[in-house]
Amino acid sequence: RKQKDNDTASLSTPSSPDALPAAAASPRAPPARASRRVASPGPATARAAPMGRGGARDGAAAAPPWHSLPDEVLEHAFSFLPAAADRGAAAAVCHGWLGAERRSRRRLAVANCYAAAPRDAVDRFPSVRAAEVKGKPHFADFGLVPPAWGAEAAPWVAAAADGWPLLEELSFKRMVVTDECLEMIASSFRNFQVLRLVSCEGFSTAGLAAITEGCRNLRELDLQENYIEDCSSHWLSYFPESFTSLETLNFSCLEGEVNFAVLERLVSRCRNLKTLKLNNAIPLDKVASLLRKAPQLVELGTGKFSAEYHSDLFAKLEAAFAGCKSLRRLSGAWDAVPDYLPAFYCVCEGLTSLNLSYATVRGPELIKFISRCKNLQQLWVMDLIEDHGLAVVAGSCSKLQELRVFPSDPFGAGQVLLTERGLVDVSASCPMLESVLYFCGQMTNEALITIAKNRPNFTCFRLCILEPRTPDYVTRESLDAGFSAIVESCKGLRRLSVSGLLTDLVFKSIGANGNCLEMLSIAFAGNSDLGLHYILSGCKTLKKLEIRDCPFGNKPLLANAAKLETMRSLWMSSCSLTLGACRQLAEKMPRLTVEIMNDPGRTCPVESLPDDSPVETLYVYRTIAGPRSDTPDYVQIV
């Protein structure tokens, strides 16, 4: 039993909130055996003793009172542990706690939809009210995963419909969600309240109509960056006239038009509406009208914010925004005519989050606008802001915690005036900055070392130098020194993306210093197997590793096979792997699924290929569900 519990612990360590303890199948242990193990000496026992049962009056032989607490008490205690990692740790203590925890868990996050079977998840956690499931690997966002790869939401919806009739929240990310799924959601959960779809595909406005019509208690409909087929089915009109519970409505990714009159009535009657994110089909004057109807908004996405300048429209907007005293978060696809930006000035002071990452506006108006947002905590912009714009941000936004700078012209000739200077300035002047995503054309070790010294509090550092393998543009050296400084200085770093010219040495540093690192993204870096070996043998808390176009081969993979089971997943594409190593890995580690993806044009079965066949893409993940059965032709499970 001790061995089994060690296994349990390995899968549900604090760093793996998504894990389901492996000891699912074993029956509940009789309490006596549980007590023998948990009755460890020490202050814990003494402290726990007075809990409700009056202490161990019967002498040393008596079991500690808290081992036999009724489940309801345990469950109540666990309700104060919202973080999945803590609940996982509690569940690993003993079977008694495992049972109490799993029966009372309300929120379940499945970070890899193939890590467990939907039915098992539903059976294991029967009281779940909110579930989040993620599907495709991260690199699918960049086109590295062909279509029909899998990650269908349907099995999860079906299992939930069966076993979680009281489900209230469902969230899918990078999955294929069909209209049938949405229809099933609408008809299966009588108290369904929150639907969040992020980077999903496969559904249309007809499915949305099923949701709006069927979910009488809907509070949140949050559609982020999905591909939605427009069937012009007036989904918005299906909200009944008596429906008033909406708090969040985000349809910014919808291509088609919506009936504005219907939207306006909806906004008028939903007095609790806090978040409204419009799509590009809503013109500017209509935005103003909506704001007048919903001055209580906390978050607004303006959709397309562009129109020819008309002073009366400007006045209308300005008046509308003046009424929005609670507005804290602002976003939108602004082909913004800079002349309209001053209409926002009255809300700038209150803004904590500004997403201009789809705004192609540039110039002094933009900078003036941002500089008025003194309380900004989160800023997403395009590199059109340029170095001098970031210098102004550095001076104005002292509370900044997160900065993302996106490339306006990723494939262009690099004419944007954004360099490492901007990041250095912001890191120097924003003491609370902890999360950065930065696309730029050039970098130096000196800049990175300065940044590392300024901001040891980084938790997320993602630097993308646009051209692969770009060296320090001053010294022409690799950027090993710079990134090493980052990992050495930022002891709490959880997420790191590296770029530019890098040798194996940087990975030695990352492996040795990345003690909190959970996600690492590597592209076009390293010289040899050693680089990968440093990572896999170090980085104690690594969960997700994604690698592309690096000269890493079989040896480090096999040498560190056991490590892979402590991680959620590993992605390696365009590296130097061969089929033989994947076979060995699969054989050695039965609880990993080893998926290889090759050219879809070549569908000869994996069994017939020799060991030295190259493997283009490897995706390995731990699972308790065994190999999946929905692989397309081009994916083979070894």
Partner: protein
């Protein structure tokens, strides 16, 4: 927009060329595997370590996104490259692609690099092309329905330069429904669609092309200049002449 262009294009609609997959006894494992998804990139002149040098034919074509049409970034690997010089090959391949009026990039494109989400790329491309009002960038797909046809089609209005082009294309697309519907062979669709003056002959004709504009009204095709038409047309419908006559007659009467 239509369901993800990105995944479809990733597969690469053209089959891998036989020449590249036939190389067999090369010592390099990469060549043996046939058209390999090898990505070469890096600064011009820099060497990708461990990439086989003798298998340029296996080179997967870098993405062909040039300028403001980056949503095609995922569409690549259509043509294995015979030349190790990525620059020229990218330019050569650019000509094969449908007209993309973007400025040619000196460097080749790599799949999924820089790591910008396809959703973001598509959105920016669409807004860029709309902002410019240019004819490049995102294609303008509209649905085409026909009375009595069991399914609809989609056409990209940007592929055509005039009403004649469009009507000929539609005629080809829907010919399977037109033939066999009536024994009377009608005058060419072209005449029908663009000939607004012969209103009285509408009674004889079977089909008339109409479109739905931004106000959701059904209008007869042909009144507007072509360029303006492409921007405001949202849907097309091929109506029967008898139904359409109602539209035209009523317009004439006002």
């Amino acid at each position: 927009m239509s369901p993800p262009l990105e995944p479809h294009d990733y597969i690469g609609l053209s089959a891998p060329t036989p020449s590249s997959s036939s190389c067999s006894s090369s010592p390099s494992p990469a060549a043996e595997a046939g058209p390999r998804l090898t990505l070469r990139l890096g600064l011009p002149g820099s060497e990708s370590p461990d990439r086989d040098r003798d298998g340029p034919a296996d080179d997967v074509a870098p993405a062909l996104t040039l300028g403001p049409a980056p949503h095609k970034a995922a569409s690549k690997r259509a043509f294995p490259d015979a030349s190790p010089h990525r620059g020229c090959s990218a330019a050569a391949r650019a000509e094969d692609k449908p007209p993309s009026a973007a400025p040619p990039a000196a460097k080749a494109q790599v799949v999924g690099w820089p790591p910008v989400r396809n959703y973001r790329k598509n959105t920016l491309a669409a807004s860029a092309s709309k902002a410019k009002g240019a004819d490049d960038g995102a294609p303008h797909y509209v649905k085409v329905s026909m009375d009595g046809a069991p399914y609809l089609r989609k056409v990209d209005l940007k592929m055509y330069s005039s009403y004649e082009d469009l009507s000929m294309a539609l005629q080809k697309m829907f010919s399977c429904f037109i033939t066999g519907q009536s024994s009377l062979r009608k005058p060419s669709t072209k005449d029908r669609l663009t000939n607004r003056s012969n209103v009285d002959s509408l009674q004889d004709q079977e089909y008339v092309l109409t479109y739905e504009d931004k106000d959701a009204d059904w209008m007869l095709v042909g009144d507007l200049p072509w360029d303006l038409f492409t921007t405001i047309c949202r849907k097309l419908k091929i109506m029967r002449g008898s139904d359409a006559a109602g539209i035209v007659v009523s317009t004439l009467c006002t």
